[in-house]
Symmetry: C2
Subunit: 234 residues, 2 copies
Amino acid sequence: MAATDKALAGLRQMIASGELGPGAKFPPEPELCDHLGVSRSSLREAARSLAALGVIESRHGSGTYVSALDPAEIISRFSLSVELIPLEGVLQLLEVRRVLEAHATAAAAARQDPELEEKLGDILDKLEATTDAGEIQALDAEFHGSICAAGGNPTVTALTGVIRGRGGHYRIFEPGADFEAIKQTSDRGHRAILAAIAHRDPAAAATAASAHIAQTELWLRALRPQPQVALEDD
Amino acid sequence: MAATDKALAGLRQMIASGELGPGAKFPPEPELCDHLGVSRSSLREAARSLAALGVIESRHGSGTYVSALDPAEIISRFSLSVELIPLEGVLQLLEVRRVLEAHATAAAAARQDPELEEKLGDILDKLEATTDAGEIQALDAEFHGSICAAGGNPTVTALTGVIRGRGGHYRIFEPGADFEAIKQTSDRGHRAILAAIAHRDPAAAATAASAHIAQTELWLRALRPQPQVALEDD
DNA sequence: GGCCAGAAGTGGTCTGAGGACTTACGCTGG
DNA sequence: CCAGCGTAAGTCCTCAGACCACTTCTGGCC
């Protein structure tokens, strides 16, 4: 087995065996090198792999630690790769989002939470009042994200959030020929979701959310726009 | 910005900008170091991060390439981290699997595919005839995996597969007090799913799949067994 | 008791060298 | 001319050593 793979397997085994639980601290790098029988370069490359996957965290000057191993945090790491997926793959991911978000929206509707409804109403008021593409995207994310969070499963919230972020790179809401029509359809979809939640109707909420996201898929398939290339600074 | 982060951002930007598409080859490491203004160590650590996320692939002696950027392949990389998630997080993930697999099973039922039904029947015949834990797990994965594949969305298949693999580390099917009862309930659940698919009844298929996985969640919550610690060799 | 400076511990980065593997070229023999 | 093969170039992989940057703890000072 190659050196880096050996180090990778060793580090993972230390966690999988229970020797190191969430938040635990690894021995210093020189000690790990000795224990695993690899050079420091190879150990560090293996550690970078696990850090990229959200399994461990290196803190400069302090040490290397096992992460919380929380699935929501681990899934969030996927945005680094998902943001690079081409349109064809994004459409497959949007189906995942549609199914999961319909489920989460239904769960949110089953709850009795006036504060949530008020918050969602405020978001939609702002959303319907703006035509700025960036603001639309941010408010849309806040609307759907709040609903998913109310659904009660942080992992679902994280997964749908990553996919939503990827879709947002496409310029559906840039001013253009169909801007008004698209914006109105989108706004109506949001109101339908909120109405279903306010009526405590999980089935209607799921249907409304599913239809809303399916509409986004249709726009993407039809427009096939080029994604924005700019990446945020890390 | 730290050196490794600078290299990471640079590599991602080369892909995001469209300069390098799926399958494209990167310049040699020394050239990239010069271009990005970092040392080879830092560049290699950044490359390892992206390789762990399934975005790039380094081939010894050949070069470094952009991956196919296929969402199913990228999601498969998650098994490295998902396999380390503790039970509490696995339950959140199982809800994701339940929702997605119900959806995929419904899609499979909507198709008319006698070959699939025959294949699934054969798998269940073997599954009902064995009591070996490893064989049960393999056949169960083949059964559900075949159905998801028939659902038509490879990304859904990959995601459910990763989660199923994680759940399989728990020893539900180890011989014990409730082994017989659990096995019978599981077998009946599989037959119900197959029957719904054979009857071309998507709604029934979704319900059967959802109930089957929900049952697994209940067992996991009740038993809270310790996961097997052994990891497969890479 | 609180604050601050120094020291120890630890990860981050760079440089240089040699090894291992893949690929492509050109030679040889048919 | 073509197939087979060996060599050479190209590229990534691993190691070793040194130094830097950041965090944390300790001890003394006010």
